[in-house]
């Protein structure tokens, strides 16, 4: 499944989608950046409530296919600008991390 298809299936609010055709493989949910750094795999979807600029560096370095920001977490303009600059796929939802993971489980299995 591509990032674009996933965004449509989950009715996400797309914020930055420079690589819409990127394939998604699995997911990782977490808000503590060192855990994500150590555990998220390349091509995973990363589900988090964190939105500060550091999340973009973590997404870039772990090579996740997209970041889904949950619980309608506020998105600072600087983070969004950085995501666009670095080519990071970024979308948002009002649903919780739990709800998104449940639905990801169905879509990605």
């Amino acid at each position: 499944m591509t990032v674009r298809q996933l965004s449509e299936s989950l009715a996400l609010e797309v914020l930055s989608l420079p690589e819409p055709e990127r394939e998604v493989c699995g997911a990782y949910a977490g808000d503590l950046l060192s855990w994500v750094m150590g555990r998220a795999n390349a091509d995973n979807v990363w589900v988090t409530v964190m939105t500060n600029a550091n999340t973009v560096a973590v997404a870039t370095l772990t090579d996740v296919s997209m970041v889904i920001v949950t619980d309608g977490s506020e998105m600072p303009p600087e983070t969004l600008a950085l995501a666009k600059e670095k080519g990071v796929n970024l979308a948002r939802t009002k649903a919780s991390s739990y709800e998104i993971c449940v639905r990801l489980g169905g879509l990605l299995s």
């Binding site: 950046l33 060192s34 500060n52 550091n54 560096a57 870039t60 670095k86």
Partner: protein, 140 residues
């Protein structure tokens, strides 16, 4: 590649937004040089955690990455407060991060363990009040 390639970065201790830039730059270079994804991943994780630690715990520092024939060396040098108890600092979950730093998603106490896990060798030299130098090696 006979001559080692050396990349040096000044890591700004004042700027949280740019934290991680040196690691992102190194990742790009290693990709361009054609290293396998697994090696790039290990270098990225180890260097990012070290870079962030210099920003949040030591007021910045200098990162040097050397690409040799058979290994990649990462050296992180700062003139921050030093680490009082290295053995304790290496434990998963140990952190002295302030609430403000924790709000940014740091402070899980997983950075040094991640560095250890992703490298073939890691040495910490530290002196209270003087600073910290961390040398990591990833064999190719």
């Amino acid at each position: 590649m006979s001559e080692p390639l050396v990349f040096t970065f000044e890591v700004d201790g004042e700027n949280f937004t740019s934290a991680g830039n040196a690691s992102v730059a190194v990742k790009k270079k290693l990709r361009w040089l054609g290293f396998p994804p697994e090696i790039i991943r290990r270098v990225s994780v180890a260097m990012y955690e070290g870079e962030i630690n210099m920003v949040i715990h030591a007021g910045g520092g200098v990162a040097t990455v050397t690409v040799l024939q058979d290994r990649i060396d990462i050296v992180l040098e700062d003139h921050g407060p030093g680490i009082a108890n290295v053995e304790l600092a290496m434990k998963e979950g140990f952190s002295t991060a302030t609430d403000h730093i924790r709000d940014l998603g740091f402070g899980a106490g997983m950075g040094l363990p991640n560095m250890k896990k992703n490298t073939d060798s890691m040495e910490i030299q530290t002196e209270l009040g003087k600073g910290t130098t961390i040398k990591m090696i990833i064999n190719l």
